[in-house]
């Protein structure tokens, strides 16, 4: 006989969520529901009938932690819809901007999960200080390149609004080198606390939170619509996914559930490593370590971009509206973020679809929780940086 347990609101993540768990006599989860209880602000509906430029600005506000990814995916979607080719340096700066965001977002997530792994106040404070130092550098990248650390307005349809100065390039380089050192320390720290947690709780790192869903990623550092076959993607209503027998849960979940080949797929740091590096770490806690490793890789890629960048190069293509449909894909800190725009010949949006990164992972979180003890439900959920 299984018992129903509710955790609401779930904490230490962005947005509003609720866990409904069906557990057995020993507290092991037989069935988990991870429900998004946030209000639907309706960005897709808001977009209709509005100019492309407004929509690209508005959709960044889907998420205040990873705004750059929405700005980028949206700009890419409109560019493909209207046949616009951003200049090389604009494209590089855009990648740099979103990687700056990836750095700050990844370590911010490490701040949010600290309480799962660290009890001692001093250790926690030290970690927070280091995280804030790294965040400061990540945000410096976004501020300088994107114009604002939160909701960067320089990301434009057609590229980036402006280039950076030569002295800014040098400063960024220097600061990112500092970030790399701090991040190496932070990476070591994450590995230590995760391993310590597994040991103290007698958890098998390779087995804990394991699921058998496929992994999906389109690019290690940017995003690639060529690697996402939209014909194989469907978004279903919660009632379709959970079925009549769980309609109570279904009606509490706000948002649609994206499926690839009819099943939930995991997106995010682990997926990017699985797809592009061929590793296969099945235990869910590895995501923390891979996220950390990916932050180091993001810093390295930023340094490369700064070397490649021509600071006097053109960054923004001029464009005229044209009717069409385009897909923009960007790898958000949390995973594959998809925007699909249809515009008319005046550049007015006729249809807009967003598959935000976290929405892929909601049903995967459920699979990862199932089979584990209920006390770990939120710990597992937080591996995903929802």
């Amino acid at each position: 006989m299984s018992e129903q347990v509710e955790i609401q609101p779930t904490t230490r993540h962005e947005g509003h969520g609720k866990l409904v768990l069906y557990v057995d006599d020993e507290g092991y989860v037989e069935r988990a529901f991870y429900l998004n209880t946030s209000a639907i602000r309706g960005f897709e509906a808001m977009a209709k009938g509005r100019p492309a430029e407004f929509v690209q600005v508005a959709v960044m506000r889907i998420c205040g932690i990873c705004q750059a990814t929405h700005g980028t995916a949206s700009a890419e979607a409109f560019e493909r819809a209207m046949g616009i080719e951003p200049p090389r340096d604009g494209r590089l700066l855009r990648e740099l901007c979103a990687l700056g965001n990836r750095i700050q977002s990844h370590v911010l997530h490490q701040l949010l999960v600290l309480d799962d792994f660290v009890e001692e106040e001093k250790e926690k404070v030290e970690a927070i200080k280091r995280i804030q130092q790294i965040r400061k550098i990540g945000q410096y990248v976004v501020d300088v390149v994107g114009g604002e650390g939160i909701h960067p307005p320089n990301i434009r349809i057609g590229g980036m609004a402006e280039n950076i100065s030569e002295s800014a390039r040098k400063r960024l380089y220097r600061r990112l080198r500092e970030a790399r050192e701090l991040m190496e320390e932070q990476h070591e720290f994450m590995r230590e606390i995760v391993e310590r947690f597994a040991e103290e709780n007698d958890l098998d790192l390779d087995e804990f939170g394991r699921h058998d869903q496929p992994f999906m990623a389109t690019h290690p550092t940017y995003g690639d619509p060529e690697r996402l076959d939209l014909d194989r993607v469907v978004e279903v209503l919660p009632i379709e996914y959970y079925g009549e027998e769980h309609k109570e849960e279904a009606y509490e979940h706000n948002g649609q559930i994206p499926l690839y080949d009819g099943v939930p797929v995991e997106v995010g740091p682990r997926s990017r490593y699985v797809v592009f590096d061929g590793v296969d770490p099945r235990g869910v806690l590895y995501i923390h370590i891979l996220r950390s490793q990916e932050t180091l890789a993001a810093i390295d890629r930023c340094l490369n971009i700064l070397e490649e960048l021509n600071t006097s190069g053109k960054t923004l293509a001029e464009w005229e509206p044209r009717a069409g449909t385009g897909v923009g894909v960007h790898e958000a800190p949390r995973g594959t973020n998809v925007h699909i725009a249809t515009v008319n010949e005046k550049g007015i949006v006729e249809d807009y679809r967003i598959i935000a990164a976290s929405t892929w992972n909601f049903p995967v979180v459920e699979k990862a929780i199932e089979g584990e003890h209920q006390e770990y439900a939120e710990v597992i959920m937080r591996c995903y940086d929802i």
């Binding site: 609101p9 639907i40 407004f54 600005v57 927070i128 939160i150 909701h151």
Partner: protein, 235 residues
């Protein structure tokens, strides 16, 4: 110590990230208050009674829990602060109009100032970290006379957006073309042409940063600037 609850309604978390962008000072700021609730940062699941509730995000009138939380704030908090344009004045949420799966009835998103009596409203999308820090410092020090402008904005008369800037500053012969609005605009919707702002309405999200930052709309008084800025505190 002041008990502070950070409440998130229908928003993006960007205002909290802005607070976190005080970087090395964040821990000092949090040391000055007792943070009793903040679902993004801690495990407390019920909003307790508190001295100050800082609220981010709009109220979705079609979302029962959202309305309930908003309405409950007057009971729970002595002082209510609407942080950021969604809670303060409306922001781009004014363009929400429902009809989206899987909650097509979520349609009306209004600022908190339209739902409960808010004491202070801080526009911006998001408000700058330094603005949040300044606000909290002044509030904790009881220098509420300097917060009067934010109390006035909490009446929620308008969005204080690019249109308001045009109607109430330029159109009233008070714009001297300094360019502050253009710099303040978080979407870069404003360009100064021939000494006056031109607002690109396609980029304006009605966040209120331009109007609030304009030196001609709200002047905090020379004394405050001499004391808090020129007194060397910034260094």
């Amino acid at each position: 110590m002041v008990r502070l609850a950070y409440v998130q309604l229908a928003g993006c978390c960007g205002c909290l990230v802005s607070l976190a962008d005080t970087y090395e000072r964040l821990l000092d700021i949090l040391d000055e208050v007792e943070l009793v609730y903040c679902q993004t940062l801690m495990d407390e699941r019920e909003i307790p009674e508190c001295d100050v509730a800082v609220v981010e995000g709009a109220v979705c009138l079609n979302h029962e829990e959202c309305v309930e939380v908003a309405r409950g704030l007057e009971e729970k908090a002595d002082t209510i602060v609407a942080l950021g344009a969604c809670a303060a004045t409306g922001n781009f949420m004014r363009y929400s109009r429902g009809n989206e799966q899987s909650a097509p009835t979520h349609e009306a998103f209004v600022p908190l100032t339209e739902v409960v009596d808010v004491d202070y409203a801080i526009p911006g999308c998001p408000p700058a970290p330094e603005a949040i820090e300044r606000f909290l410092t002044l509030l904790l020090e009881g220098k509420t006379d300097l917060l009067e402008p934010f109390a006035k904005l909490a009446e929620g008369k308008t969005e204080y957006c690019g249109c308001d800037l045009m109607y109430h500053v330029v159109n009233k012969n008070m714009c001297m073309g300094c360019g502050t609005c253009a710099a303040a605009c978080p979407t870069r919707a404003i360009e100064i042409v021939d000494g006056r702002p031109v607002v690109n309405e396609d980029r304006c999200i009605k966040c209120g940063a331009c109007f609030t930052q304009c030196p001609r709309t709200i002047w905090p008084g020379d004394d405050a600037i001499k004391e808090l800025v020129m007194g060397g505190e910034e260094e």
